[in-house]
């Protein structure tokens, strides 16, 4: 499996706009050196947060990590742009692990997918949808149902073959269509839900 994690940030969410405008927010989630390598054209706190949280989610499937995400455990040390996608290398400092992320830049959101192995690029599928409920407890259910429908339509997996265990650890979620495990990661923020999975 690929060990992937994803994170979406709604750039127009009112609280996000307020938080990301506060310079102290950026100071709490990054070092000065790290912040300097993020291009000025990007909303730095949103970019750094989505890269690091996606990395935490990916890593939590592989290593024992603290139960609460600490952005200061991660350092972004390389960024390369290809069109609307930024590729990053991220170091998990407590265990000196490298992760690789791709961040999709859109007017409405930043969406990062992180993985433990650079060679996994190309094997990952993802989708992003606008949310049609404001109730957070329904968002989690909605993204799963949407994913199952998509997998059912695209891959012909029977809907009854999926099983998710969202409470097993902080983030890892596996589904089991037929005999193959699929590594999957969900994210919800503001008006967006997103999902990334290997196949």
């Amino acid at each position: 499996m690929a060990f992937i994690g994803c994170d979406i940030i709604d750039l127009h969410d009112k609280q996000n706009v307020k938080s990301f405008a506060n310079p102290k927010y950026l100071q709490k989630i990054s070092t000065e050196d790290e912040s300097d390598i993020v291009p000025e054209s990007l909303i730095k706190p949103a970019f750094i947060w989505s890269n690091k949280e996606a990395s935490y989610k990916a890593l939590s499937k592989f290593l024992h990590v603290p139960p609460i995400f600490n952005p200061c455990d991660f350092t972004i040390n390389k960024i390369r742009q290809t069109g609307n996608i930024f590729l990053s290398k991220i170091i998990y400092r407590p265990a000196d692990y490298s992760l690789f992320a791709e961040t999709h830049i859109d007017d409405g959101y930043y969406f990062s997918i992180a993985r433990l192995h650079r060679t996994d690029h190309g094997k990952i599928y993802f989708f992003i949808e606008e949310l049609n409920t404001k109730k957070h407890e329904n968002a989690s259910k909605q993204v799963r149902e949407l994913l199952f429908r998509k997998l059912h339509c695209q891959n012909h997996y029977p809907l009854t073959s999926f099983n998710t265990d969202e409470h097993s650890r902080p983030y890892p979620i596996l589904i089991h269509p037929m005999k193959k495990n699929i590594d999957i990661s969900f994210s919800h923020d503001g008006g967006y839900i997103a999902c990334a999975f290997d196949s």
């Binding site: 927010y25 709490k28 949280e53 609460i68 995400f69 952005p71």
Partner: protein, 82 residues
């Protein structure tokens, strides 16, 4: 401690999905899984606490605030150390 808890509830309520402290509120509750606070808001909560109580959190302190009792203990120890 009651005064700290009261102020903490005021801060947390701003970041709860329905902006209201639940009746079941208790020190064992976890911010993300129980109170359904968005993880990106944890930083906002830390900044608000620092301002309200005039204390500073270190980078490592974030790991101690996964639940309410962790936050209360941290605020108490830092305000006493001032």
């Amino acid at each position: 401690m009651e005064q700290i808890e009261k102020k903490l509830k005021e801060i947390l309520s701003k970041y709860l999905p329905d902006k209201k402290i639940p009746e079941s509120f208790n020190p064992d509750m976890k911010l993300i899984s129980d109170l359904k606070i968005n993880s990106a808001r944890i930083v906002d909560i830390i900044l608000d606490i620092e301002e309200e109580f005039e204390i500073d959190f270190s980078n490592r302190d974030i790991e101690k605030i996964s639940n309410i009792s962790g936050i209360l203990n941290l605020i108490k120890s830092k305000t006493q150390a001032k």
